[in-house]
C-alpha cells in the first residue's frame, strides 16, 4: 500500500505534494535539479490564449516572512505551451494540472478546450484570482455570479476535471466556493495571493513597478488555513491547499484544515528541493502521528 497516495477527480496522485502554479515555470528548470516523477503532480504556470510579457520590473519584493509578486501572467501562450512545454513534460510520470487564465470568458474557454486535450494534462486549474492583471483574473474571483458562469462555461468544453482557484481577497470565501461548486467545479484550489504593497524607504514609492503585488509565503499561512477550514465545511468537492507551505509540518496542517492535497509555491525559491524533501519525510511523520495513511489526516481540525 502506498501510504501517500491520494485520489482526486482526474488525478491519481502518488503523493499529495505538487508545486504551485507560477512558482515552477513549466518544470524545465527544476527538472534539471531532480526527477520530476517524484512529484504528486505539477501545476504549471498560467497559460493564456496569446503570449504575454507581463508587468514591468521590479516584479518581486520581500516582506516579513513573505514576498510580493506581480509577474503579470507572463507566459508563451497556448500554442507554445501545447507545442513545447507540455510535450517536454511527457518524459516524466507525473500528471499536469494546467492553470488557465484570461481576460474574457471566451479566452478561458478557448485555452481550456485545447489544453485539456493535451495527453498529460489531467486537470485544469481555473485562475480566477490573479491580482496582478488589469482585466480578468481577480474580477471573476470576487463575484460569485461571474465565478459560477465562468466555471460552467469552462466545464462545458473541458475534457478533464476543472478545479477553480480562489482568491483570499474576499469577505466570505465560502460564497465563491459554493458558487463554483454549484456551477460544476470538480475541486477547489486555494489560496491565491493576498494583495499587498511594499514601499521604498527612501523614496516612499512602491517597490514593485505594478505598485501592488500578491503576498505569498509563510506570512499568509494562517489566512490560508482558516479559509480552507471554512471552505472544506461548506462544499463537498475536494480542495488542493496552498499558501505558505514550507515544510512537512505545514503539509500536515493543510491536510488537517481540510485540504486533500497540498501545493508548494514560494518555498521552491527558498529551497529548490523542498518538494522532494517533503515527500521523503512524510512517511516518518505519519509514523509519529500514528497514522497509517495520509488521507486519515484530512479534515482533522473539524473533529469536535
Amino acid at each position: 500500500m502506498n501510504r501517500l497516495a491520494v485520489e482526486l477527480p482526474g488525478l491519481s496522485l502518488k503523493n499529495p505534494i505538487m508545486p504551485a502554479s507560477g512558482c515552477f515555470g513549466f518544470g524545465k528548470e527544476y527538472g534539471n535539479l531532480y526527477d520530476l516523477s517524484e512529484l504528486g503532480a505539477i501545476m504549471i504556470k498560467a497559460t493564456t490564449l496569446k503570449s504575454r510579457f507581463g508587468n514591468p520590473t521590479p516584479r518581486v519584493a520581500e516582506t516579513a516572512a513573505g514576498m510580493l509578486n506581480a509577474i503579470g501572467l507572463q507566459n508563451p501562450g497556448l500554442d507554445k505551451v501545447l507545442a513545447e512545454e507540455l510535450p517536454r513534460l511527457e518524459q516524466y510520470d507525473v500528471p499536469i494540472i494546467a492553470n488557465v487564465a484570461g481576460s474574457e470568458v471566451e479566452d478561458y474557454v478557448q485555452v481550456a478546450e485545447h489544453i485539456s486535450k493535451a495527453r498529460n494534462v489531467h486537470a485544469l486549474e481555473l485562475n480566477i484570482s490573479c491580482p496582478n492583471v488589469k482585466c480578468g483574473g481577480i474580477a471573476f474571483g470576487t463575484d460569485p455570479v461571474l465565478a459560477g458562469e465562468l466555471t460552467a462555461a469552462v466545464k462545458a468544453v473541458s475534457s478533464v476535471p476543472v478545479y477553480v482557484k480562489l482568491s483570499p481577497n474576499v469577505a466570505d470565501i465560502t460564497v465563491i466556493a459554493k458558487a463554483v461548486e454549484a456551477a460544476g467545479a470538480d475541486g477547489i484550489t486555494m489560496i491565491n495571493t493576498l494583495v499587498g504593497m511594499r514601499l521604498d524607504r527612501k523614496t516612499g514609492r512602491p517597490v514593485i513597478a505594478n505598485k501592488t503585488g500578491g503576498l505569498s509565503g509563510p506570512a499568509v499561512k494562517p489566512v490560508a488555513i482558516r479559509m480552507i477550514y471554512e471552505v472544506s465545511r461548506a462544499v463537498d468537492i475536494p480542495i488542493i491547499g496552498m499558501g505558505g507551505v514550507s515544510d512537512t509540518g505545514d503539509v500536515i496542517d493543510f491536510l488537517s484544515a481540510g485540504a486533500s492535497a497540498v501545493a508548494v509555491g514560494t518555498a521552491n525559491f527558498v529551497n529548490p528541493f523542498v518538494c522532494p524533501e517533503i515527500i521523503r519525510e512524510l512517511p516518518a511523520v505519519l509514523d509519529e502521528l500514528g497514522v497509517d495513511h495520509i488521507t486519515e489526516l484530512i479534515g482533522r481540525s473539524h473533529a469536535l
Binding site: 515555470g25 521590479p58 518581486v60 514576498m67 509565503g217 525559491f269 529548490p272
Partner: protein, 258 residues
C-alpha cells in the same frame, strides 16, 4: 550542475566600508564554469529574511575548492551575512547563470573592464582569466568615495587600474564614463558590471565595440522558473525577453533593451 550546499566560511573580513570579503569552501566550486556567474544565498534558516540573495562569484580556485564573494552589507540579508563567523556554514545555491567568456578576447589584445561599486567583484575573476590568456587588461573602477574602494591592489597586480570616485576622495573625480571621456583608452572588447545607468552610458559610448554587460534584477528563484527577473530585449521579434538569472546575468551589448 547547480548544487545547493552548506558551504563552510573559511574567512570573512571587511575590506572597505561595509564591503565584506567572504571565502567559502565546498563542492559547488567544481561546478563553476565562467567568471560572472553568481550564487544565490540563504542567509539563515528562518523565514526572515525569506528570499535568497544573489551575489557574484568574485574569484574561485578549483584546487582548493574555494571561492571568494565580495558584498556590501546593505539591507537585512547581507547585513546578517556580514555577521557570520568563520567555520560556520552558509546555504549556497549555484553556480547560477551564464558569465563572461574570456575566449571572446584574443591573446595579445586589450580588454577594458569597467566596474561600478558592488559590480566590481565579478571583474576580478574575469581579469585573472583574461590575463592568464595573455589578454592585456585595463580596469576602470568606480566607487562612491575613498572609504568604499576595495581590491585596488588586487586589480593593479593584473593590469593598469584607474580608480574613480564620485566625490573625488580617491583617484579621479566623477563617474567611470567621465574618466574614459577625459582619458580615452584603446581596446578591442569591453566587459562591464554595475548599476544600470552606468551600463547604459557605456553601451552608448562604445556602439561599435564588442561588449559584454552584466545586469542586476530583483530575483525570486534565481534559476529561471519564476519570471521575476526578465528584461525586454532590443530585438523583441526574435526573442521578446531574457531572464537575468538564467539567460544572463551577462549579455552581449545590444541584447537587452536598456
Amino acid at each position: 550542475m547547480i548544487l545547493q550546499e552548506q558551504m563552510t566560511i573559511q574567512s570573512i573580513r571587511e575590506v572597505a566600508d561595509r564591503i565584506y570579503e567572504m571565502v567559502l569552501e565546498g563542492n559547488l566550486v567544481n561546478e563553476i564554469s565562467a567568471p560572472g556567474q553568481f550564487v544565490h544565498i540563504r542567509v539563515n534558516d528562518t523565514y526572515e529574511p525569506l528570499l535568497r540573495r544573489p551575489i557574484s562569484i568574485a574569484s574561485f580556485d578549483r584546487d582548493s575548492g574555494r571561492m571568494t564573494l565580495l558584498f556590501r552589507a546593505e539591507g537585512r540579508g547581507t547585513g546578517l551575512l556580514a555577521q557570520k563567523a568563520p567555520g560556520s556554514a552558509v546555504n549556497v545555491l549555484g553556480p547560477l547563470g551564464n558569465g563572461f567568456s574570456p575566449d571572446q578576447s584574443e591573446p595579445g589584445s586589450t580588454a577594458l573592464l569597467i566596474g561600478g561599486g558592488i559590480g566590481v567583484p565579478p571583474l576580478y575573476q574575469l581579469s585573472k582569466e583574461l590575463t592568464a590568456r595573455g589578454v592585456h587588461c585595463i580596469h576602470v573602477l568606480g566607487f562612491q568615495s575613498a572609504s568604499a574602494v576595495f581590491y585596488e591592489k588586487e586589480f593593479a597586480a593584473l593590469g593598469e587600474t584607474r580608480i574613480v570616485t564620485a566625490d573625488g576622495t580617491a583617484g579621479e573625480q566623477g563617474f567611470v564614463t567621465d574618466s574614459l571621456r577625459r582619458n580615452p583608452v584603446d581596446f578591442s572588447a569591453y566587459y562591464t558590471c554595475g548599476p544600470t545607468p552606468m551600463l547604459q552610458a557605456i553601451q552608448a559610448a562604445y556602439p561599435d565595440k564588442q561588449g559584454f554587460l552584466s545586469f542586476e534584477q530583483r530575483m525570486g528563484c534565481g534559476i529561471g522558473a519564476c519570471f521575476a527577473c526578465v528584461c525586454k530585449t532590443q530585438d523583441s521579434d526574435t526573442r521578446p525577453y531574457v531572464k537575468v538569472c538564467s539567460d544572463g546575468p551577462v549579455f552581449p551589448a545590444g541584447v537587452v533593451a536598456i
